[in-house]
Amino acid sequence: MRDLRTEEMTLNMGPQHPSTHGVLRLKLRTDGEVVTSIEPILGYLHRCFEKHAENLEYPGVVPFVDRCDYLASMNNDHGYAMAVEQLLGIEVPERVEYIRVIFAELQRIASHLVAFGTFGLDVGAFTPFLYAFREREKILDLFEMTCGARLLYNYIWVGGLSHDIPPGFVEKAYEFLEYFEPKIKEYNDLLTNNKIFIERTADVGVLPADVAINYGVTGPQLRASGVDWDLRRDEPYSIYDRFDWNVVTGVEDMGVLGDCWNRYYVKILEMQESARIIRQALDRLPVDGDVQAAVPRKIRPPEGALYFRSENPRGELGYYIVSDGGTKPFRVKMRSPALSNLGVIDEIGAGWLVADVVAILGSLDIVLGEIDR
């Protein structure tokens, strides 16, 4: 019996796997079903975004920025446009600001719908995924009405927008809000209060607040750990300081702060808050104004560097743009939230079962496009 021993098994999850949310490879070392260490291996979706950006003029970078986090394209565009506008020192018209906020929040709802739908799928609940995508169709219809694209828009340009909103948009948007707000209750019935779901996600993968800050975790994942920090309220950009809404943090109803259930629940409540912001923005939307008025002919910022950050659905999206005075940026670095969010998985995932690793990965809500850029 002395020679009998259990060995650790190295299990490879991905890059092709139904649950890794993209081409991510996780090297798991498992002892039976318990995972002892997780090593993510990245780079399968690396498209050299930062190198491309050095060879394009400033407006030409916007479509590339779209494709980094393809589930939150509007927010990516928004961050980049605001960063360059700060460098140039230009201000955009009021109407543009309001429309940008409406689209950014609609995109946030769409992104959270995908996040919680795929999270349910990871845990085994097939139906909420389809309900989430049904709602998302309506949002994508709104986007298609305006700029013609459903996923990658190239809509928010430096200094303005590519198209003005078409007639009928405001009515359709109100219709969508009327339709969407009662759906939150449906999701709560299906998933949030479901005993099996709670058993799978509550108290699983707990991320304490100080570890989260140290690892650079941001966004709903950080707020689920109890840290009351939202860039839209604490470092307000655009016109977010004019709206009345709450920042959602984790609760201790079903588990502890910082577990998977909280990371999921924060997203559900954030969708509600985004709907509130959209409604207020639609109410106060200025009626006229040219959306292309402030778009400069040639973008040639003065020499300098700027780190600008905004709140992506996944967390803090930062752009470090260095300009050498020419029409092409000298360096564009995108600080993607999902990269730092994924970095914490070894810390919180080790010691759980394989099935829990899937749940934890789903709750961290990563998009490989922005991790690999």
């Binding site: 930062e50 650079g216 730092s340």
Partner: protein, 168 residues
Amino acid sequence: MTRQEIYDRLLAQFGESVVAFSNEPFTQFIVIDTPAWYHIAQYLKTDPDLYFDSLMCVTGMDLGPKKESMEVVYDLFSMRHRHKITIKVVGPREDFHVPSVESIWRVADWHEREVYDMFGILFDGHRHLKRLLLPEDWEGYPLRKDYQVQEYYHGIRVPKIKPKKLAP
């Protein structure tokens, strides 16, 4: 605290390790001497008045073969005091060694790996410094200004990246 105050604090504490300070719009940074970076980083994180507990972004920059230097830029933020600072370390283009701060801010673990991957800047003291985004046997450091992509990778031809000429 304003950037000026933070600079004064650092100057008082570390003296000649703090090399330069600039506070013009869009050029706000403190340049520090590379070997002292680890201790300065610890001080920045643990001192109660500064308390930079969040490292927002680590960026590598290659200033080109003409200027013969590379930089690593650290953007720090304090969640407690809500102030920011940008720290730079400057060095040569070849064999640039920077003390790693990944044991101080764990977020730097992957960010420094990415800087190493893209620029070839070596981080001393990093526990697993290997490439992050590119395959481990890739040659060269892509984000350098004079980077030439390798011809073949495992027998597959690698296409060259040509700068695009956009319509005026």
